[in-house]
Symmetry: none
Subunit: 381 residues, 2 copies
C-alpha cells in the first residue's frame, strides 16, 4: 500500500496455519469476530472508541430553538447495563487476545460508559497505566443550565498485564512539551471544519469523529514507527489516517460499509510524513484563564472583603461563591455585571473596574489575577 518501516516483518516467518495480518486495510465486519480471526499476540496497540450507550431521552433544543443533532444511531442502543457489559467484555477479551504481550490498549468514553469499561478491564487482567482526560477546548454548552458543561472525555491506557514492558516515548513527549513531563490532561478542540468528513448532502458523515490531534498524541506516546495499531470501531478511519501519516501500520474493523468506504478514500489521500518529521512538534502554551471565584477559593480575596471602583464611589462585597453584591441594594452578580449595574452601563470589565485595598494600598483586582496566574504558572495551560 505505502512504504512502511516494518510492515513485512509482521507477516514474515509465520506458520502456514496462521492467517496473515490484514495490514493497512479496512475490514468490513463485526469487531469481535474479526478480532478473533487475527493471529493472537499480533498487534502493538489497540485504540477503541466503542459505543457510549448514551441513553438519551427526548429531543433537546438550544435556547434559539434549533434542534441538537443527537447520537441516536442503532449501534448506540443497549437494552440494559447488563447487555452493555456483555458487549464490552466480549470485545475487550478479543482485543486482549490480539495484543502482543507488551502491547497496550487505549479506550475512550464518557461517564455513561467509561466506568463500566474500566472496571471490566481490571476484571480481565488489564493493568491500568493512566486515565487521561481529553479537555475539550470548545465543548457543547449545557443548554438548560442543569449541570456542569460536559467538557471532557476520558481515556484509559492499560497494558495487557501488570508485568508488561510497554512502549512509552517519554523523552519525545517531554521534549515536545517545553521540557516538562506530559500530564494526564490533554487539551484539544473538537473535530470540526475542514477536518470533519461530510456526506454527499454536506452533513457530518459520522456522529462521533475524533480529532486527528488526539489520536496522534496517542500513537506518538505508545507506539514506534512500523508498529501495528488495531482499531475495532474504525468509523470514519481517523486512526488509519493518523497511523499512515505517522508511518504506523493499522488494521481497521468497521461494521457499516458506508463508513468503511469513506475511511478507505480518506486514508488513500494521506501522504506519510518524512522520517525526520516524526518528532513531536513543540506545543504552544496559552494564557491561563482565571475566574474571579478562583481568587476567592485561593484566598487572594476573602469573602466579605469590600471592593470599590478607582475613585471609591461604588462599593461591593465579595461573596463566597465568587459573585459580589452592590452595597445599598440587593444586586448580586458577577464582577462584570455588578460593575455595569453600578455605573448604569451596559458592560464593564470588572477586572479593571473593581479595586481592593490591601496593605494600605488600593489596586485593581486584575493585579491579584496576575499574581494567581504567576502562582499557577506552567500547569494552567
Amino acid at each position: 500500500m505505502y512504504s512502511q518501516t516494518a510492515p513485512l516483518a509482521a507477516n514474515s516467518g509465520r506458520p502456514a496455519d496462521v492467517p496473515a495480518l490484514p495490514l493497512n486495510q479496512v475490514v468490513l465486519g463485526d469487531s469481535v469476530r474479526e478480532m478473533a480471526a487475527l493471529p493472537p499476540g499480533s498487534v502493538d496497540l489497540v485504540f477503541a472508541d466503542p459505543p457510549y450507550n448514551l441513553q438519551l431521552g427526548g429531543e433537546l433544543k438550544r435556547p434559539d430553538e434549533s434542534r441538537v443533532d443527537a447520537v441516536d444511531d442503532a449501534w448506540d442502543q443497549f437494552e440494559s447495563f447488563q447487555a452493555y457489559d456483555a458487549f464490552t467484555r466480549a470485545w475487550l477479551l478479543a482485543a486482549r487476545r490480539a495484543l502482543k504481550p507488551n502491547g497496550t490498549l487505549f479506550v475512550i468514553g464518557s461517564y455513561h460508559n467509561i466506568f463500566r469499561v474500566g472496571a471490566l478491564m481490571q476484571d480481565l487482567g488489564f493493568w491500568i497505566l493512566n486515565d487521561i482526560i481529553w479537555r475539550k477546548a470548545n465543548p457543547m454548552p449545557n443548554f438548560r443550565g442543569r449541570r456542569f458543561t460536559n467538557a471532557h472525555e476520558t481515556l484509559i491506557w492499560a497494558a495487557r498485564s501488570a508485568d508488561a514492558k510497554y512502549t512509552f516515548n517519554y523523552e519525545a513527549l517531554k521534549a515536545g512539551n517545553d521540557d516538562v513531563q506530559m500530564r494526564s490532561d490533554w487539551l484539544f478542540p473538537l473535530c470540526t471544519g475542514q477536518e470533519r468528513l461530510k456526506d454527499a448532502g454536506g452533513r457530518k458523515l459520522h456522529p462521533t469523529q475524533k480529532p486527528e490531534a488526539l489520536i496522534a498524541r496517542i500513537l506518538l506516546s505508545a507506539t514506534k514507527p512500523g508498529d501495528v495499531v488495531l482499531d475495532p470501531f474504525f468509523g470514519s478511519g481517523t486512526t488509519g489516517a493518523v497511523a499512515k501519516r505517522l508511518r504506523r501500520s493499522f488494521i481497521g474493523i468497521e461494521r457499516e460499509e458506508a463508513y468503511a468506504e469513506a475511511a478507505r478514500t480518506r486514508i488513500d489521500a494521506i501522504e506519510p510524513l518524512s522520517e525526520e518529521a516524526l518528532v513531536a512538534p513543540p506545543s504552544a502554551r496559552e494564557a491561563p484563564r482565571v475566574a474571579f471565584s478562583a481568587l476567592v477559593e485561593r484566598g487572594l480575596v476573602t469573602p466579605g472583603a469590600e471592593l470599590t471602583d478607582a475613585k471609591g464611589r461604588f462599593r461591593a462585597v465579595v461573596r463566597a461563591d465568587g459573585t459580589i453584591s452592590l452595597s445599598g441594594g440587593q444586586n448580586v452578580g458577577s464582577i462584570h455585571r455588578v460593575g455595569a449595574l453600578a455605573q448604569g452601563a451596559e458592560a464593564c470589565n470588572g477586572w479593571t473596574f473593581w479595586h481592593v485595598e490591601q496593605e494600605g494600598r488600593r489596586h485593581p483586582i486584575d493585579v491579584l489575577r496576575a499574581r494567581l496566574r504567576a502562582e499557577m504558572g506552567i500547569a494552567a495551560e
Copy 2:
C-alpha cells in the same frame, strides 16, 4: 454549636423512635454502621473520599502496588477487586439510604478505584449527573518516567435517582466564573502549606487531605446554606471545616480516633462567613412568578398597546385580559403562544420576544416585569 439557618428544623417533629441527626459532630465508628444508624432520607449531600487501599481481612492488596506471582496474578486480583466491590457496595447503599430523595452524592477517586465505584453507583440506581476532573495545578511528577504525570483525580456527581429534583446553583457558579458556565474540569492546587494539617512530629497528619477550595466548590454547587452534608470518610475533617465556614451543617464519620480528634479541633477554630457573603444570588428560575396580566392590571402596559418583536417584523395588540392578538390574523393567546405562532416556532419566551415602545424607546416587556417585581419587592417590606 454555631448559628445555622436551619439545623433545628432537621431534627424537629420526628417520631420518638427516629434517632436525632448528630449534626455538626464527628462520629467515631464504622462508616456503614454509623450511616445505618441515621434516619433514612435525612441528608442533602454526601461527599465521600473512600479509601482504595483497604486491608479487608488481609485479602485486599493495594491495586496499584500488588506484586504477586504471575501464576496467582489474575486470581489474586479478582479476589481483591471482589472485596473492594463488596465494601463499596455496602457504603454506597448506606449513603443512598441516608440521602433525601432529591439529595446528591459526590465521590472522589483515582483510576485505581473510581471505575469500580462508578459502575456500582449505576448498578445501584444512582443517576450520574457529571463526572468532574480535578486538575492538579502542582501534581507530583512521575519519577520513573514510565507514565504520564498523574495530574488529576475524578469526581462523580450523581443524584439518588434519575427523576430527582436536585440542587444546582447554576447562576451563582456562572456569575463567579466570568459569566460563562462552569465546566466539568476544575483547576486547584494540592493541599499544601499552612492548610495542610501536621502531627506532633511536623509530618502530614493525613495522607490524602483534600484542598478546602475543592470542597467549597462542591458545597457551593450543590447545597444551600443550612443543608446537611454527610461525609462517611471524614479523615482530617475538611468537609466539616468548609461546611461550617459556608454555614452548612455536617455529619462526619471517622474510624480513627486520632483523625476525629484533629478534625474536631480544626473545625472548632473555624469562623462561619457572614450571611451577606452567602445569600444566594437571585436566579430567574426562583424569581416570583409575575403574569403578563398583572402588568396590564397595574397599568404598566395599557390594553390596546402594540407589541412588536425586536426587529419590528411582527405586531400584536394587548388585550384587557392579558392575552394578545396577532395583527393580521385572529390568533389570540398568551404572549408565549402568540410569539411562537408568529415565528412558526414550537416555543417562545414572550417576555424577551415582545417589545413595547415607551418614551420613544423600544424595550422588551421583560423590563416592565422587572420594574413590577421591584415595586412588589418594596411593597412587601
